[in-house]
Amino acid sequence: MTKKIEAIIREEKLNDVKDALREIGIIGMNVYEVRGHGRQGGITLAGRIGTYQIDMLPRLQLNIILSDHNVEKTIETIRRAASTGRQGDGVIFIYPVDEVIRIRTGERGKEALTYEGDIDDRQS
């Protein structure tokens, strides 16, 4: 089974998370800039005079596709690297992936997904 990990993290944690993921062998990912909020609500910004509130805060969303049996290890790695212990650290979603196709070669499934030396290649 192939899974998609969608992790929403603080912008300033991207480098920590990327480094930690590389150490466990995760090479490919893509990143979206997203805005939103969970329980922490919003933040206060300085205006021309006084302050104002914004509630849609900038975060980054990482998308990683990999084999089922590597999901738990990856989740733990992201959690450890992205956590500050404060509200607003983010959230992780896991989805099943029906199929993966590499555009250049037309490979499908595990072949399309795996890079030489990455986490799925090492622990398949």
């Binding site: 910004l45 300085a46 205006g47 021309r48 005079i49 302050t51 104002y52 914004i54």
Partner: protein, 407 residues
């Protein structure tokens, strides 16, 4: 050319260029504070005034302001089309530079004044209505008030009112006109419910830098010569801006953090407040004028917010209130030790000057407010001032200009 001084002429020509740049600078100062979908529209509201008012000024505006006096209220059509405005000086206004240099320099003041008003109605004004409003306002408000204050025979000039570079003529009347226009056109959709975040504060910082530099031409050039008075004007200008910027920064710091937009807004308010006084007061007085201007305008914004008026970019608080304070402060701090051609103010034993300043600035402001109300109402009832709800939601860049700031 009889009586022409090349140094004076060179300085006024350079100052003309400096004041010209203030209009694009203002465009960026305002543009940074609106939402992304209205950035081009906001830039254009200021910028297009260079086109519109330059022509108005050459065709008849200059003559209305500086032509032969009719009863103290308006100039005649003697200089229409810049006829007779050439290389020889006009000794009534500037005896050592070509008349054309004076008229061209004054053109840049006429251009930026209606551009200042645009901060009131950004993000919702119909472009055609804005164009017509600006021509009518320049003709019926700016040109007469410029004549009252600066024209030989003008009522306020005859009264002895001092306005070195346009605290009343430029800032006070545009600021109060902005408030009146904002009340007529009404608030932006969603005003007060969602924060309307500035799309690009760096633009506002950059715009302020260019405004600050241009203001040396605005105030320094108003000496109409390359001399000690110009130097005094430039030094007082810089000093007041520095004081007001810092005080504003501390005011915002005390409430939260030292806001960058706050510092630059304070600097602009200091520049506004020193404008009428720059050639009449000492550098130490400039510190007081700037430092007091900052809290006055700061709390004027708070008052405007409490009243829930969507005078969107606070032209009233910064230019209307700041310019009025500057005009009154001139009546306090002016001294003939700085400028023998001026007058002494209250602190130099002449309380009458303060009264004169108050009558002049409040008279001009009331006149401008009434006229703005009439012009805006007439346009509202005929062609309409506002874009449709849908156009406002899409943004004026697309709806009014068919362009967008970023691809």
């Amino acid at each position: 050319m009889e009586g022409i001084d090349t140094g004076d002429t060179a300085w006024v020509l350079v100052s003309t260029a400096l004041v010209l740049v203030m209009t694009p600078a203002l465009a960026f100062f305002y543009g940074g504070m609106v939402r992304k979908k209205n950035l081009l529209s906001t830039l254009n509201l200021s910028f297009v005034m260079i086109g519109v008012i330059s022509l108005q000024w050459v065709l008849y505006g200059y003559s209305l302001a500086f032509g032969n006096d009719i009863g103290g209220w308006i100039g005649d059509m003697k200089f229409a089309g810049f006829s007779g405005v050439g290389s020889d000086p006009n000794a009534d206004y500037a005896a050592t530079i070509p008349h054309l240099a004076f008229a061209g320099y004054q053109m840049m003041f006429a251009v930026i004044t209606p551009a200042l008003i645009t901060g009131a109605f950004v993000e919702r004004v119909r472009f055609p209505a804005f164009l017509i409003f600006s021509v009518l306002w320049a003709t019926l408000v700016y040109d007469p008030v410029a004549h009252w204050v600066w024209g030989v025979g003008g009522v306020l000039r005859e009264m002895g009112a001092l306005d070195f570079a346009g605290g009343t003529v430029v800032h006070a009347i545009s600021g109060f006109s902005a408030l009146v226009f904002a009340l007529v056109i009404g608030a932006r959709r969603g005003f007060g419910r969602a924060p309307m975040e500035p799309n690009n504060i760096p633009f506002s910082v950059l715009g302020t830098g260019l405004l600050w530099m241009g203001w040396f031409g605005f105030n320094g050039g108003s000496a109409l010569g390359a001399n000690g008075l110009a130097a005094n004007a430039i030094v007082t200008t810089n000093t007041a801006a520095a004081a007001a910027g810092l005080v504003w920064m501390f005011l915002s710091w005390q409430e939260n953090k030292p806001s960058v937009l706050g510092f630059v807004t304070g600097a602009v308010v200091g520049l506004v407040a020193i404008t009428p006084a720059a050639g009449f007061v000492t550098p130490l007085a400039a510190i007081a004028i700037g430092a007091i201007a900052a809290p006055i305008s700061y709390y004027a914004i708070r008052l405007r917010q409490r009243l829930n008026f969507d005078e969107s970019l606070d032209v009233w608080a910064c230019h209307g209130v700041g310019g009025t304070w500057g005009a009154l402060a001139t009546g306090l701090f002016a001294t003939t030790a700085v400028n023998p051609g001026g007058a002494d103010g209250l602190f130099y034993g002449n309380p009458g000057q303060f009264v004169t300043q108050a009558i002049a600035v409040f008279g001009a402001v009331i006149f401008a407010s009434v006229l703005t109300f009439v012009i805006a109402k007439l346009l509202q009832m005929t062609i309409g001032l506002r874009v449709t709800e849908n156009e406002e939601e899409v943004g004026l860049d697309i709806s009014e200009h068919g362009e967008r700031a970023y691809a």
